[in-house]
Amino acid sequence: MDFFAVVVIQVVYAIATLALISIGLAIIYGMMRVINFAHGEFLMLGGYATVIPTHAGINLWFSMLVIAPVTIGLFGVVVERLIVRRLYGRVIETMLATWGLSLLIIGLVSWIIGYYQEGAAPPLGSILIGSYHVSTYTFFVILATSVIVVGVYVFFKFTPHGLIAQGTMQNDRMAAALGVNVHKVYAVTFGLGAALSGLAGAILAPMFGVMPIIGITYITKAFIVVVSGGSLVIGGTASASVLFGTISQIVTFATTPIVGEVALLVAAVLLLRLLPQGITGRFFRRGL
């Protein structure tokens, strides 16, 4: 019975992790149609933006929940201004440019910070479920992801900024004709996606560690979730995370991690074959 509880917790945690690493990309790719190959590096920078202030004496939670998203969000705005703005609509060029940006960021971080920056230990200790130890931080990640997802939904659905952003993404010329500063909306939305990616990297830093190259650990799964999810930010990310998180963890529990990875990838391939527009290309269409 307690093993069953542990399985359920691990599945929910895997779903939350997938959703957390993907939500920033879902905004940038799903809403703005920008293929951001530097997404993993935003997560990596979020991790560093947490551990470096923490080792300088600032409280871990403040570094994680305030410093990281704000700095990476601002960094995102700068990236949007300098690189992405010139390439809207040009898919191949955006891919190349963000790929180059990814290599540049990794190189700069390796050079300036190096490989030996000490990380942060996972806080909050552990609890016993039956005879199984489970990390309490797992529950924090699940809680944080839920708050973030709800927050993004509320932002886009119920705030003026969010509604204007949605409108601009759907029809930028009409929005411009109605007096919206389209460039500012793009910059802020990209910055929001970057900030959420930084926050995700910050929250996961105690569990995954920080290294200049940790971005590659995240990026494949993030793209699989976002592309399979389809064009809706919340609906797509949530449905794809639930599907892949459940499949990969249940199969891993039942067999081995190798088969679990294979199952996730096979599921992604099958899904895209059956639903090329992603899950929300077909289901949950009216929503966010």
């Binding site: 895997a14 030996y116 000490e118 489970v134 569990m207 560690g209 190259i213 990875e261």
Partner: protein, 415 residues
């Protein structure tokens, strides 16, 4: 045909001339540096293996500097030709061919992952280019053209496992990276465990990009082993330690690792995560000998005081190059046959890890092994030292003196 000097014709002829000269370039280069001895290296200096490749390259640079500072080799300066394989096995193949056929180097020192080594070893064997693989690996390579100066399971596991079995118990849970190094190491673990009266209760293999260890951590708790031994490689696998300590398991089940610390993990992971992990290597930065102090000082001088953690991935390259240089001095020539005979005549040096000598029969190293436990303040604490540890060669199956035509990698089943 009239020879109008138009802009078009000048451009055409000019481009052709430049292309012709450029194609001669490499050959011109060879002639000009004809006075220097060329050594080749292929290292992963970018992408996910970058931290390891960078330290190996630094150690090679230091060794080359030292050789040149003391007068060079055979009266000539030594030059290192470096290729960045970008953590990509295909590039290894490409650069190996280039080093052998175009650059025509005297020897190649390099390679990190076992998969990369098995790509380039046949290339060097075919082209008769002397090859040194200076990285700890799963053992078994038996190839006259290849010298492996890194630790083998017989040296690492045969000292680490009995220590863990005696200290903690007889049931072992194996976590391994899912490629040849992890798989073969797991077979060695089973073999050595049964020789010591212990049992592997379960083995799990992980693709290199798996970073979620929740199910595994739960399964380990269900199996209740006496200790865990892991062969984790890469950034994704490194997440295991954070997740394990987050689950509060650090003080419940001890961990031994074949790879922890090789990439500077002792500096990168908070002590709450790393403390207690047991390892066994030929070299640790914390070794307290005169020769190591001198080595570390030279590294500090050349690379600054924040050169990070070197570990035996880096020092094996340093020791490997010095062994080769010693053999060249003994042979008096760069000729491959003569150098191999010199290497097989019993070469030894004093490296940062202590005495290092080449075993003529297996082309591997006999050297010290240090068993250590990760401590509280980002340092390893050395527990035991084993001297003159011989490389893995059960039943003498690899004998390059008696059977020099052998060209294979032995696997534990064959023994």
């Amino acid at each position: 045909m009239s020879l109008d000097v138009t802009r078009r014709s000048v451009l055409r002829i000019g481009t052709g001339a430049i292309a012709a000269v450029a194609s001669l370039g490499p050959r011109l280069g060879l002639a000009e540096s004809g006075d220097k001895i060329r050594i080749g290296t292929i290292q992963d200096l970018s992408s996910f293996l970058q931290p390891f490749g960078t330290q190996k390259k630094r150690c090679l640079d230091l060794a080359v500097d030292e050789i040149n500072a003391s007068g060079g080799l055979l009266g000539r300066q030594v030059e290192l030709i470096t290729y960045d394989s970008q953590s990509n096995d295909q590039l290894y193949a490409q650069f190996a061919t280039q080093l052998a056929l175009r650059d025509k180097v005297a020897v190649v020192h390099g390679g990190l992952q076992s998969s990369a080594r098995e790509v380039i070893r046949p290339i060097f064997h075919r082209t008769n280019t002397l090859f040194f693989y200076n990285t700890p690996y799963e053992g078994g390579v038996c190839d006259r053209n290849c010298f492996c100066t890194g630790t083998t399971p017989g040296q690492l596991l045969e000292n680490l496992l009995p220590y863990m079995i005696k200290k903690y118990g007889k049931t072992i849970y194996v976590l391994a990276a899912d490629y040849n190094f992890g798989q073969l190491s797991e077979k060695w673990t089973r073999k050595i465990a049964s020789e010591n009266g212990a049992k592997v209760v379960a083995s799990e293999f992980f693709p290199l990009d798996v970073a979620q260890f929740g199910p595994t951590i739960s399964k380990i708790q269900a199996a209740k082993p006496a200790f865990i031994i892991n062969t984790f490689v890469g950034p994704a696998h490194a997440s295991f330690y954070g997740q394990w300590s987050a689950a509060g398991m650090k003080n419940e089940i001890p961990i031994a690792s074949q790879t922890f610390g090789e990439g500077g993990e002792i500096l990168r992971m908070p002590p709450e995560v790393a403390e207690g992990i047991t390892v066994c290597y030929n070299y640790l930065d914390e070794i307290d000998t005169a020769s190591n102090k001198v080595f570390l000082q030279r590294m500090r001088t050349k690379f600054g005081s924040d050169f990070g953690y070197i570990g035996d991935l880096g020092v094996n390259e340093y020791q490997g190059l010095l062994l080769w240089a010693e053999a060249v001095k003994k042979a008096g020539t760069l000729d491959r046959e003569a150098v191999i005979k010199a290497l097989e005549s019993g070469i030894s040096i004093v490296g940062p890890s202590g005495d290092v000598s080449l075993d003529p029969v297996t082309h591997h190293c006999i050297f010290n092994m240090y068993l250590a436990v990760a401590g509280k303040d980002r340092k390893f604490i050395i527990q035991e030292k084993f001297e003159k540890v011989r490389p893995t060669n059960p039943n003498g199956v690899c004998d390059l003196i008696k059977r020099p035509e052998t060209n294979v990698q032995f696997q534990p089943e064959a023994l």
